[in-house]
Amino acid sequence: MRQRHTHAQRRSSVARRDLPFRVAIRGRRQHNQGVKIAVCVKQIPDPANPGRLDADGKTLARDEKLILDESDSYGVEMALQLAEAAGGEVVLVSMSPTGEVGGIRTALAMGADAAVIISDDALAGSDALGTAKVLAAALRRTQPDLILTATESTDGYTGTVPAQIAELLSLPSVTFAKSVEVGSDGLLVRRQAEYGYDEVACPLPAVVSVTAGVVEPRYPSFRGIMAAKSKPTEMLTLAGLGLEPSEVGWTGARQRIIDVSPVPERGGGEICEDDGTGHERIVALLEELKVL
């Protein structure tokens, strides 16, 4: 249950459901262990480059160097801030079919403590649900107190993985967070909405997707860059997670890509000669676009 409000700050809460792992943050903090935050991150082809399709013409080619999806850097930053404030650790969880780790190193260089990477040839072609299954299985092993994700990846844009992970783990799901506070009895999330924000209280563990732009991701420091390579990085296969190849990849995908076609070229736009009334046309155009 959540409540919408613009100015007043009213609390609502997400009911605690049957949790597969229950780690009371209060207990952890009493033992001075701090909070364990997992951040799901994705490595994508650099969006600054023109994308290419694989030979089959159905998926984005990922054979070049991959970088950390910028939209994930906000979750990483938020996790680092939470871990710095409350004490604790930040673990990255990422699916990397090709075994590429360059983008994950960037997040480690920002300050994350460790990474769990699932790499397996059978992962190629995984749809959003397949991805969520893999990440959920890895998260089940990692046992975090809090799971942060981006709201969506910059190359796939399905925006469904965070909620799917929560469902698979039977955890509360809070989406579009603009701020997250870890309290002694759970989370307080401000959730971005068109009308302002919702304030959602929620027990831990929980899956929270973080809106891009809500924090300023730090630049990796040079020392962080040098330290990244020696941070614990666990490489897992599907078998290591107890998953069958048939559940993921092309075979497990419930989505079929029928066709991929280029975006139609944009037209030349409207050129109007200014005969002294040009400003009227501009005003009319802005009104048509509903920006006035």
Binding site: A48, N49, I67, R105, Y219, F222, K229
Partner: protein
Amino acid sequence: MNTEAQLSHAARSGATLSPSPHDFLGIDSLLSEEELLLRSTVRRYVEERILPHVADWYEQGTLPAREIASDLGRLGLLGMQLSGFGCADSSATAYGLACLELEAGDSGVRSFMSVQGALAMFPIWAYGSDEQRERWLAQMATGEAIGCFALTEPDSGSDPASMRTTARRDGSDWLLNGTKLWITNGSVADVAVVWAQSEDGVRGFLVPAGTPGFAASDIPRKLSLRASVTSELSLVNVRLPADAALPGVAGMRGPLSCLTEARFGIAFGAVGAARTCYETALQYSGERNQFGGPISRFQLTQQKLVEMMIGVQRGMLLALHLAKLKDAGRISPAQVSFGKLDNVRMALEAARSARSVLGANGITLDYPIMRHMNNLETVITYEGTHEIHTLVLGQALTKQSAFG
């Protein structure tokens, strides 16, 4: 602006038939994964935090020095080539790449890093007492404290041994008198490393800002390095305790060793300025239409682009080679002179050539060209003029000194 992935792609496809205009020789393949990540990080910092503002800073003749100091401190670039005291003990290549990317933004920002790390922190690290190191280095590495280096005087430039600033013993204290000119970061510095003639030859002194008799004023009306603080320092009976002197060095070797450190960074930095000019000209020439098509199709324009590209690539190979020598502990000051001389000359030629490709647009602050070109007129003069470096090399070849 090209991206890491493009560069990397270029590096991987270096052996194919179509080299990338941004890394024609596939030089990126010589860099480690850490070096590439450092480079892309500093490049992103420059694109996000420096480039949106630098034209305004330049026009107004200002630099937000405190902010830049704390940014560069957080990035871990200040004194990165030193060890201990929060410094990262980086390779010479990593240090050089940071200089390159900062100077691709503006020579003033790279100058800030050079002065802080190579000219102020280095002498404290190399020649300072434990107390001096403890007091200054850690906070200079974070950018909390800013340093400057005071060697040049109004009448003592290429011939620093002729300096008139003196340090006299007065009981156990020192009394400093003199004037220093063209001091980068002078008026914003928390500590000045002042070089002065003493009875034991030239000595270095740490002069904290605010010491009575010590004053800094900025040099107005500069037409170059405008996004950089350049000051005149005046020392009138500045009384310093005995422990203000750097105990580890006496003679011109002290300041000259600092300059060798800084010049090494310039050999890389100049490649950054040249790269920006080249890439700006390359892009502009493809978009600027005259006589019914892009000017990049003209032979004269292509020749300019090719010469610029060759200069940038050759300069990069030179800088990386010097870094290898430096890391191996086998670099000589004359070899650093080679790098500073040739790469700054190359960069200035690239800037002038790029300016001509951009025509009238090249003279505005809407494009980075004229800013770089004006900056490089300073860079070719400071830290050893082009002429002096030529004579250093001449002396190395002939064993005859043509100066002094």
